[in-house]
Amino acid sequence: TETFVGHQVLRIVPTTHEELQKVQELQDLEDLQLDFWLGPRGPGHPVDVRVPLPSLQPLKVHLESNGISYSVMIKDVQALVDREKKEMLRTRRWL
């Protein structure tokens, strides 16, 4: 089973067409194994990306060096998945 330990979901908000272009380019970088939950729409629109642990640092550095703002939407994806599983198990046991 795929685990998401250390994965985070970042919200990137490109504010200019140049920043948008930089974010769009990330989609082609297969090595980073980014999972775009919300793809690039346009300047000012958020882009949500699930980032595996090994890619976190390089991505954050890349964004910061290009002056693109981002925030952490989900700090620990696996924690949410675990919580979801636990709730489902609890419901099944109750039934």
Partner: protein, 309 residues
């Protein structure tokens, strides 16, 4: 659960549990609900559609599907809730009763069962189907880029490893093909609503071109009313507009194909939330999400009923 009354609607369920729910609902309401198998998935799972009908032959119909992207769990869960809502309200709710007096409703709750099963057993974040078409090691096609409407154009990928891989040709996915065949054979579907998550949007064609759909103005007005109805319950704010202008260009999408088939009232929803939890929406939000979405669905269904074409 022994009946759909004791089924837990505010919890996520796996494929077997949802298919059991479908059987229970049909058994409890044989005069209103039937189960159709419209095809089989790549991994040979049945593709079930619930038909809600008060009789008649080939009545005008409304189609609703949930879960074509497997990781969007709140959509399959909402589909279960919609099914129960229809049987609960079909007599006491005047609006719904009048819809069902004239039209049938088809509801496919798990449109991508292979992907959905995979999200429960292997990878919670799986989005695509589970087919293999090329020599690539990557599996799956985006079933919302696989329809024959601007197929292969902008906003879809030819890379089998991409999350928006369009597939080798239009309708390559049995899950898509089954709906295409069903819609064509039926020939009298008047509204088609495909439900996704997340980002709180109500969208209409087109996605593959910036050219406005011929019915753009009417679709926009319906969207405005539907979004207002949705917001009336919990204040949830939905943006609305064409796929192309509201999200981004996306070719080969479901509702572009249905619209081009002549189904004027073709819409896509993107349900809660706006990113706090994304695809991992807490189960406590399933019922509120379904409740508010139902109000918007009713606006669209009533409009389709009142504006025959």
């Amino acid at each position: 659960p022994l009946s759909t009354s004791t089924f837990n609607y505010d919890s996520y369920h796996n494929l077997a549990e949802i298919y059991d729910f479908i059987d229970l609902l049909v058994a409890e309401n044989p005069n209103l609900v039937s189960k159709l198998e419209i095809g089989r998935s790549t991994e040979d799972r049945p593709l079930y559609v619930l038909k809600f009908s008060k009789g008649g032959t080939n009545r005008p119909a409304i189609w609703i599907d949930t879960g074509i992207h497997s990781r969007e769990w709140v959509t399959q869960a909402s589909g279960v809730w919609f099914a129960k809502k229809i049987v609960s309200d079909h007599e006491q709710d005047e609006g719904l009763a009048s819809i069902l007096n004239e039209m049938d409703i088809f509801l496919e709750i798990v449109t991508n069962p292979d992907g959905f099963a995979f999200t429960h057993t292997q990878n919670r974040m799986w989005r695509k189907t589970r087919s293999r078409h090329s020599s690539s090691t990557c599996i799956g096609v985006d079933p919302n880029r696989n329809w024959d409407a601007g197929f292969g154009g902008t906003g879809s990928s030819s890379n089998p490893c991409s999350e928006t891989y369009r597939g080798p040709y239009a309708n390559s996915e049995p899950e898509v093909r089954a709906i295409v065949d069903f819609v064509k054979n039926h020939g009298n579907i008047k509204a088609f609503i495909s439900i996704h998550s997340y980002s709180q949007l109500l969208l209409y064609p087109y996605g593959y071109t910036s050219t406005p759909a011929p019915d753009h103005q009417e679709l926009h007005q319906i969207s405005e009313q539907a979004a207002a109805a949705l917001a009336s319950l919990y204040g949830t704010d939905f943006e609305y507009g064409s796929i192309y202008s509201t999200i981004y260009p996306a070719s080969g999408s479901t509702v572009d194909w249905t619209y081009n088939q002549g189904i004027k009232y073709s819409f896509t929803f993107e349900l809660r939330d706006t990113g706090r939890y994304g695809f991992l929406l807490p189960a406590s939000q399933i019922v509120p999400t379904a409740q508010e979405t139902w109000l918007a669905l009713k606006v669209i269904m009533q409009h389709a009923r009142d504006h025959p074409y």
